[in-house]
């Protein structure tokens, strides 16, 4: 797999197109994006100015985001009893 970091979180129209989905698999984890290894995925990353990183670095970014989300969740009043605490996730 290939691992990329996006400078900012949030995607706009055209970030991933149907044509992209036809030629490579992509998985979003906020600022971290994971693709299969092929030239189309690399071209997509260049088009969107994504920085290629290692899997370990990608996992660290995701862990930091989830830890921050868990801290925020712990602090606030839960209005919804079925609102569930965020959790860490192992990147694929």
């Amino acid at each position: 797999m290939l691992y990329f970091r996006k400078a900012t979180q949030g995607e706009s129209k055209g970030f991933i197109t149907h044509a992209d989905r036809d030629v490579f698999e992509v998985f979003g984890y906020g600022r971290v994006w994971v693709t299969e290894v092929n030239s189309d995925a690399l071209a997509w990353a260049v088009r969107n100015s994504l920085e290629e990183i290692t899997k370990d670095a990608a996992q660290v970014i995701l862990d930091q985001a989830r830890d921050a989300a868990m801290m925020q969740w712990d602090k606030r009043i839960k209005e919804d009893p079925l609102d569930v605490r965020p959790e860490r996730e192992t990147i694929r």
Partner: protein, 329 residues
């Protein structure tokens, strides 16, 4: 369901949508929907037209579904006699149950896919207009799956790029569904558009939001209320197929998981959020007006249908998940 928007049309297509009797006379259809009010009507004028229902005036409590549940049942879809409810949370388990409304009663249908830790389906979004063409996507916890239902069986199709729960959605068919917001640990601005095979990025919400109510199409949708992770929202946003902009504000208290349905964005009903489970309002494209409250307050229900055939099924009542359903007629 609208008259087909392309291809060869038959008189029965007009009669299925607008009614009428044989022998057919084009004058029967003067002024209906977008059809000319006089003179010549061509077959092409009927492309994509939809009968406009009279607005409902009251809630009628119907028979209950077999297994009460909430978490939006991945948002039911459908028109009169053509509703389907998908997945949900029973209070103890996330389930893949499917219920169909036949015009007078609910019946169970084939179960959604899913296994292991993702067994069942809750907190996903849905699109489609009929029980023969419904879709469900995302769900607990951080799911990226997409399922399609053809009226008898489920199939698994292209994944969303970003898996998420508390995602909302809409769409006129399973070839044009829209997913908006959600939660993957963080509240997401992510919008994705489905074309029947794959999901592509749409315009971002201005604020990361989960548990919105969404109604409309891939090119004209209304997103309402929800949570930004700190507070519940009262604001709404309109999507034009490219970007989101501010819509009118609801009068009901801020809340999550409102029930949303309606013929299109500019006739969107919103009822029962976590902030006020009985409230009910109608959007006309500019502003909301207050409508008759639910008989039994509920949020996170399955909802769908049109102006005079809306339904809000099961959901979280005042103190428990209720099996009852209400129709807006």
């Amino acid at each position: 369901m609208a008259v087909p928007s392309s291809g060869e049309l038959q008189f029965t297509d007009f009669q299925t949508e607008f009614g009428g009797s044989n022998p057919i006379a084009m004058s029967e259809y003067y002024g209906l929907s977008t059809l000319p009010a006089s003179n010549e009507i061509s077959a092409a004028d009927f492309y994509g037209t939809t009968a406009i229902e009279a607005e409902g005036t009251a809630w009628t409590t119907t028979t209950s579904i077999s297994t009460s549940r909430d978490r939006r049942l991945t948002r039911g879809v459908g028109g009169e006699g053509d509703h389907v409810l998908m997945g949900g949370y029973t209070g103890a388990a996330r389930v893949g149950l499917t219920d169909e409304w036949n015009g007078s009663a609910w019946g169970t249908a084939s179960t959604m896919p899913g296994s292991g830790t993702t067994a069942g389906h809750a907190s996903g979004g849905s699109g489609g207009l009929t029980s023969n063409d419904a879709g469900s996507f995302g769900g607990y916890r951080y799911e990226n799956v997409t399922y399609e239902y053809n009226g008898s069986a489920w199939s698994t199709t292209g994944n969303m790029a970003t898996g998420r729960q508390s995602v909302s959605g809409c769409g006129e068919s399973t070839t044009a569904m829209l997913s908006a917001g959600g939660d993957n640990g963080s509240k997401l601005t992510t919008t994705e558009e489905y074309n029947g095979a794959s999901w592509a990025s749409g315009g971002a919400l201005s604020v990361g939001t989960s548990a919105l109510g969404v109604n409309g199409s891939q090119t004209a949708a209304l997103g309402m209320m929800g949570s930004n992770g700190t507070i519940n929202l009262q604001t709404t946003s309109e999507y034009n197929g490219t970007s989101w902009s501010a819509g009118g504000s609801v009068s009901m208290a801020a809340g999550q998981d409102p029930n949303a349905w309606g013929n299109d964005m500019n006739s969107t009903h919103v009822s029962g959020s976590s902030g006020d489970k009985a409230a009910h309002e109608l959007y006309n494209g500019t502003a909301f007006t207050t409508k008759t409250s639910h008989n039994t307050g509920r949020t996170s229900a399955g909802s769908g249908g049109g102006a005079g055939s809306g339904f809000v099924a099961s959901g979280s009542g005042t103190s428990a998940i209720t099996p009852t359903c209400e129709k807006w007629v």
